[in-house]
Symmetry: C2
Subunit: 252 residues, 2 copies
């Protein structure tokens, strides 16, 4: 009996959105076929994993019915503290892979382990000698970067900015200094209900000539990417729907 | 007559490889359908753009035959100096978009404007009020990061390392210090024929406990991602085919 494989299975970016995009708009048939053959899963949330599997089944029939799929959730400590901050050991989650099964790793939206939990599972797989195969799908950060017109040959993703207003202002200044000095585009995200607050903090803190890009609702019909200098942002109309998932990028 | 749209069209990652992957393994049908409808292109290289269009045509028939497609190449100065280093003005390339046409931006492999030329075209589109829509496809950097087991909540892509041995050693130390101090995973790439040299420089320069991941031939059948401590790399066998496109990542 040979060791199985850990597949990193991307999910659509419409999680939590009113609007759903057809699955094949942003997921390759190859990814859906591979996912449909998997019967063992590690995910952020079992309910959304089942909802996604149901959508896959409508395109490529699943190898096993939903109620027979083995679905394990990542513990809450990983969601909260991150994959490598605590003492979390993901190896027990991979028992099925050691027995020869293909195991899928899923996050709520986009690529697992990128701006989302899951890297502890990939690391545990490497430690156990299990092959790790990433499948192609949408990654909001990279779609946003490509569409921003900012430097894509040197960039960083730094997660969330602080919620406290003073700490946020300081962090924005720090990231701007880095971006202007080195040319490294700085990407970050925010929970949708704080998008407007962050945009206002950015346009009031950043320098006139710094470029700010905001990409919202990527892969949806309502997708919208705006990129201009901070000076131009100050006189631009506010977006009509500020609750879409957004990616922010600053650079020179 | 309304303004057209600039679509960022991802290409497969098998450019320059002996092995070709089926197009639908890593490209969503939605991307191929959108691309098949486009008749005006801006690309790195017209010959490879035509070869890719021919592959698309076999899945979704093109709206116009190959010989009627309007294909413009990015000037060599952009390939060499980067998009924003010189005085290059991409706006004239977008004349067709101003006339209402959909225009596609293509690079040789993966996502245009990410680790590849093209961001000057996206920027020019924003400046001209042309919508910029990124389509989903494979991005080797992100597939590598997800599969590496390294921190995906804070990461940077820094392009190529210096070719000079001393400068490369210094840069490796600098990136390692940053990665260990901040937890920010550092990603970089190399032209395939220098993969072995870079891997040797990394394993001899980095500290014992630093983690190094090398992802090769992503999306191909021969894809292979290895991730372990530098100490473990020193006793690991060398890869059998060292000429596959590779992404390198270091972190803690």
């Amino acid at each position: 009996m040979s060791t199985g494989t850990l597949y990193l299975v991307p999910a659509p970016l419409d999680f939590g959105c009113e609007e759903q995009a057809p699955l094949q708009d942003a997921l390759p048939l190859g990814t859906l076929q591979k996912a449909a053959g998997i019967t063992h899963w590690i995910c952020e949330n079992a309910k959304s994993a089942r909802a996604y599997l149901k959508r896959i089944d409508a395109v490529v029939p699943l190898a096993a019915p939903l109620q027979l799929q083995q679905i394990q959730e990542l513990p809450r400590e990983v969601h909260k503290k991150g994959d490598h901050a605590g003492q979390f050991d993901a190896r027990p989650l991979l028992a099925a892979a050691l027995e020869g099964h293909a195991v899928g790793l899923l996050s709520e939206a986009g690529m697992p382990a990128v701006a989302d939990p899951g890297s502890s599972v990939a690391r545990a797989a490497h430690d156990l000698g299990i092959s790790v195969v990433p499948l192609t799908g949408p990654v909001s950060l990279l779609l946003a970067l490509a569409a921003s017109g900012l430097n894509g040959q040197n960039f960083a993703f730094v997660g969330y900015l602080p919620q406290d207003a003073d700490a946020r202002t300081q962090r924005i200044r720090e990231l701007e200094t880095l971006a202007l000095r080195t040319g490294q585009t700085q990407l970050f995200i925010e929970t949708p209900y704080r998008n407007a607050t962050l945009r206002q903090a950015l346009t009031s803190t950043l320098q006139h000539n710094t470029r700010l890009a905001v990409a919202r609702g990527l892969t949806l019909d309502s997708a919208d990417v705006q990129s201009r200098t901070v000076k131009a942002w100050r006189s631009a109309p506010a977006p009509t729907d500020d609750r879409l998932p957004a990616v922010f990028a600053i650079g020179r």
